[in-house]
């Protein structure tokens, strides 16, 4: 990867703390507006959801209980095709975006009934923009190219709103595109202090100090202590996810299934993303991996003969209620905090809407419901 050599200091228009997907999307959006941007990132040993995720662009299952969150995800989903194309052109790396939609497989008649009711209710809440169609067993079988459904599969649904990228290709194309547009990316620059004088923020790392009139804290699990530096109190909790990757096999199913089973263009099948709370322990566990493998084989029994090549666990940064946070500090205007649970899904939207908010101060109405005000009554830890 093409990384800039550490510089000991610098003055920028915006300094971004955290070089995961969230920080880089903001950075990429800003450099496209001809701004001078530095992204200060941590080390390989840091927790980084952006380097270990499942790569789904999930819309149809987002925001059932929070329609503004559905709208946010939906808007991002719509921006994704153009965003992916732009990244590919700018970086020379194809993020392998596919926006064909997602199949959901129901196991047992009860689950199919529940899925039907869920979709009806979701459509009522979200309106005509919500698209998800219930299918019987034969219909999902045909959609998946007669790959051989498990006996218990009762049917399912198909939503054209969802998509996927190759998670590692996406991360590297985003970083490359950001740098190609003139963005500075500084690896191994762990920020320990953010101080402000009348004109600028001074962002300190053991490797040097950086200053800018605006600073964005997008450091995933590293957010809380940094947010405190600029007068913002919030919790970000680690939510562990485990993933199985198989050997490469011929392309067998062209849609991601139920958000936990997908095949990459290169042939590997990914099974995953459990979700558990295990503190800051990012190791895999046999019990969870076994459950993942079992659910996969229950739906597609022919996967039984496929070898597992790798498994890993990774921690998602999760806000208190699981919804994104876009907040400027009222105590120290010019300092912003951004965190979200589905940084891949929201990447296209973040690139488009966050730069404007950061430079002009006005939050787009789509972002408006996601400030820290909503936690006002809760006691931050």
């Amino acid at each position: 990867m093409n990384m800039s050599r550490p510089k000991s200091s610098g003055t920028f228009d915006v300094v971004i703390v955290g070089g995961g997907i969230v920080g880089l999307c903001i950075g990429y959006g800003l450099v496209k507006c001809q701004l001078r941007v530095a992204v200060l990132d941590g080390n390989d040993a840091d927790f980084s959801a952006s380097r270990g995720n499942f790569g789904m662009i999930s819309v149809s299952n987002k925001g059932f209980s929070n329609i503004p969150y559905f709208r946010l995800s939906l808007t991002s989903g719509r921006l994704w095709p153009l965003f992916a194309e732009e990244l590919r052109e700018c970086s020379g790396i194809d993020p392998r975006f596919q926006g064909r939609g997602k199949v959901y497989l129901s196991v047992g008649d009860r689950e199919l009934d529940e899925q039907r009711r869920h979709i009806e209710e979701f459509s009522q809440r979200a309106g005509a923009e919500y698209r998800n169609e219930i299918l019987d067993r034969d219909e999902v079988d045909a959609l998946l190219g007669h790959v051989g459904l498990g006996e218990a599969v009762s049917g399912g649904s198909f939503s054209p709103l969802d998509g996927a990228v190759d998670p590692l290709k996406f991360y590297s194309s985003l970083l490359r595109a950001y740098q190609a547009r003139g963005g500075h990316y500084l690896f191994g620059h762990i920020v320990d202090r953010i101080v402000r004088d009348t004109t600028a923020f001074f962002v300190r790392t053991p490797a040097g100090q950086f200053s800018a009139p605006r600073v964005v804290i997008a450091a995933g699990l590293g957010i809380p202590p940094l947010a405190k530096e600029v007068g913002l109190q919030l919790k970000v909790r680690p939510e562990r996810g485990q993933i199985i990757v198989t050997e490469r096999i011929d392309q067998v199913f062209k849609y991601p299934i139920s958000g936990f089973l997908r095949q990459n263009v290169e042939g590997t099948v990914m099974i995953g993303s459990s979700s558990e709370y295990a503190g800051r322990d990012d190791r895999t566990t046999v019990e969870v991996l076994k459950e993942l493998a079992k659910s996969a084989v229950e739906r597609l029994p022919s996967l039984r003969s496929v070898q597992i090549n790798r498994c890993w666990a990774c921690l998602r940064p999760r806000t208190q209620d699981g919804y994104p946070i876009y907040q400027e500090s009222s105590e120290q205007p010019g300092a912003f905090v951004v965190s979200c649970h589905s940084g891949i899904t929201l990447a296209a939207l973040h690139t488009r809407l966050l730069p404007q908010w950061i430079m002009e101060g006005a939050r787009d109405r789509l972002l408006e419901p996601f400030g820290l005000e909503r936690f006002r009554d809760e006691q931050p830890a």
Binding site: I249, V252, S302, S305, N309
Partner: protein
């Protein structure tokens, strides 16, 4: 003493069938080392780049050495010990799920 390297170095009469040719192998070694020692050339074609590959890391990590062992595709040659009557083929395509399904 039971030195594994001694075992490896003891020449045995074992042989492998690689793409129809007979290749000498030593007891205790892996398919990858036998193929390298026999100068068997490339061991497969990458489905991603379309280029010819052969063993690289010899520690099971890089997956450059994939071969078909007795009809089973996607086997890392560096992780498989030689056995009697092994048939090894270059892997030039991805196994299909349906064919794999029938193997078991």
């Amino acid at each position: 003493m039971n030195n594994p390297h001694e075992t490896t170095n003891r020449l045995s009469s074992m042989s492998l069938n690689f793409e129809g040719c007979v290749i000498a192998a030593r007891e205790g070694e892996t398919v990858a080392t036998a193929l390298l020692a026999a100068k068997a050339g490339y061991t497969g074609t990458s489905q991603v780049s379309g280029r010819r590959r052969s063993p690289y890391c010899l520690t099971g990590i890089c997956f450059e050495c994939l071969v078909e062992v007795n009809g089973h595709a996607n086997q890392r040659a560096c992780m498989v010990r030689v056995r009697k009557n092994m048939t090894i083929r270059r892997q030039n395509r991805l196994p299909s799920l349906h064919l794999k399904g029938r193997e078991t």
